[in-house]
C-alpha cells in the first residue's frame, strides 16, 4: 500500500511537470519574436534532408504513374500546358493591373517605374505535421536571403508568406490556414476586403459591404496593404456569394488560384 502511494505521488509529480513544461513552451512561444528555438532548428535540420528525399521519391513515383502508365504522353502535355496557362494567366493579370495602374496615375507621377521584384525558386520539401494548421516547408532559408514576412506564390497565384526561417529551410503559412489574413480587392470593382483562411481548401473574403457589386467568377488580387504581399498578385476567384438578410457584410467564398494539393516549386518574392 505505501508503495502504491509513492507511485501515485510520482505519477502526479510527473504529470504536473509535463503540464508545466508545455505551458512554459507556450508562454515562451507567444512572448518571443519569430526566430526559431535552437531545438526547432535542430529538428528541422535533421529532418529536412530526409523530407527532401521522401518528397523527391514520391514525386518521381507519382510522376511515373501519372505520365507513363495511365495516360502516357497526354499527361505530360497537359501538365506543360497547365504551367503555360498559369504563366500566361499571371502575366495577363500583371499586365491588366499595370495598365489599370498606369491609367489611374498617368499624368500625376510621370516616368515612375514599378519596383523590380526578385524571385527565388524554392522547392516544397514537407507539409505540416499536424491536422490543425496549413504550413509547408521550403528548401530555402536565411542562407539564401529568405526570411520572415516574404510573400510566396506560384505562377497561378499567392500561396502564403514565410513565418519562420532557419539557415536552409523556411516555414510558409498558407493562405488557407485559419490564422492567415491578406488585404485584397476585386480586380474589376476595386472593392476591398480581407481574405482569410478556413482551414480547408477554400478561403473567405471578409468585410465586403452588402451593397458592393460582386459576381461569381470575379478575380481577387492582393491590395498591397499590410506590407507582405505586393499589390496585384492573383489570389483566386469568387466561387460563392451569400447575402444574409441581417448583417453588414456579404459571405464570399473564394477558390484559390494556386493548387494547394500539388505544391512542388514555389516563388519567394524578395524585396
Amino acid at each position: 500500500m505505501p508503495r502504491k502511494g509513492i507511485k501515485g505521488k510520482r505519477l502526479i509529480t510527473l504529470l504536473s511537470l509535463l503540464i508545466l513544461l508545455s505551458l512554459v513552451l507556450m508562454t515562451l512561444n507567444i512572448k518571443r519574436d519569430q526566430s526559431p528555438f535552437f531545438f526547432e532548428s535542430l529538428i528541422i535540420t535533421i529532418l529536412s534532408p530526409v523530407q527532401a528525399v521522401f518528397s523527391q521519391t514520391v514525386s518521381s513515383i507519382s510522376g511515373v504513374f501519372e505520365h507513363y502508365f495511365f495516360i502516357a504522353n497526354s499527361a505530360r502535355e497537359n501538365s506543360e500546358l497547365r504551367k503555360q496557362v498559369d504563366q500566361l494567366s499571371r502575366e495577363k493579370n500583371e499586365l491588366v493591373e499595370r495598365l489599370n495602374q498606369q491609367e489611374r496615375i498617368a499624368g500625376l507621377i510621370p516616368n515612375e517605374e514599378p519596383e523590380a521584384t526578385q524571385l527565388t525558386v524554392a522547392t516544397v520539401i514537407g507539409r505540416d505535421a499536424t491536422q490543425w494548421s496549413k504550413v509547408v516547408f521550403v528548401d530555402k532559408g536565411t542562407n539564401q536571403g529568405v526570411h520572415e514576412n516574404l510573400a510566396v506564390m506560384t505562377n497561378a497565384g499567392v500561396i502564403g508568406h514565410v513565418i519562420q526561417s532557419t539557415g536552409t529551410t523556411s516555414k510558409v503559412l498558407l493562405i488557407t490556414d485559419s490564422r492567415s489574413a491578406v488585404d485584397s480587392l476585386f480586380q474589376s470593382s476595386r472593392v476591398t476586403g480581407v481574405v482569410v483562411g478556413t482551414g480547408r481548401d477554400v478561403v473567405k473574403m471578409k468585410y465586403v459591404p452588402m451593397n458592393a457589386e460582386v459576381a461569381v467568377g470575379d478575380p481577387i488580387l492582393s491590395s498591397g496593404l499590410g506590407g507582405i504581399f505586393p499589390k496585384g498578385l492573383r489570389i483566386g476567384v469568387v466561387s460563392q456569394i451569400t447575402k444574409k438578410k441581417q448583417g453588414l457584410f456579404q459571405d464570399i467564398t473564394i477558390n484559390p488560384s494556386a493548387d494547394f494539393s500539388r505544391l512542388e516549386e514555389v516563388l519567394v518574392l524578395m524585396p
Binding site: L14, L18, M26, L28, G126, D177, T198
Partner: protein
Amino acid sequence: MFFLIQFLILVVIFSAQTTFLENFSIAGVTPDLALIFVVYCGIHFKGSRGIGMGFTVGLIQDCLSGGLLGVNTLSKSLISFFFSTLKDKLMVEGLFPIFLFIIAASLLDGIIFYLVLVTLFKGEVPGSFLFSSLPTYAVYNGCVGPVLFYFLDLNRKWVLRKFPNPYLRQS
C-alpha cells in the same frame, strides 16, 4: 542501439507524415502517425518511459508545424500519460480495442488542442473546422492504427530478440 532504432522510427514517421501522407487525405484529413505511435509507446514501454516518448514526439510535432509551440507537447504527453498509467488495466489487443482506443486518443487530442487555443486565443479559433474534421480524423486514425501497431509490434519483437533492453515490455 535501442535509442538509435527509436530515432529512426521517429524520422520515418515524421518524414512520412510531412510528405506523402497528404496524398491519402480524406476530406482534407490525414491520419496522425505520431499520435498512433504515442499510444503504442504508452502501452508497450515499461514503467513511465512511454510518457517521455510522448513528450518527445509532441515536441517534434510542434517544431514541424506552424501552430503554437507546446500544444502538441501537452496533448501527446497527456495521451501517453493516460495509456502508460492504465496499461495494466486496459486490454489493448486485437483490431477492435486498438481501433477504439485510438479513436478515444484522437478525440482527446483534438479537444485538448481546442481547449488550449480557446484559452489562449479567444475568438480566433476555427472551432467549426476542428469539430467537423474531428470525427473523420478519429475514425481515420482508428483504421490506420491497427496497421501501424502491427508493424511496430514486429519491430518491438525483433528489437527484444536482437537487443534485449529494459525499456520495452515483452507483451
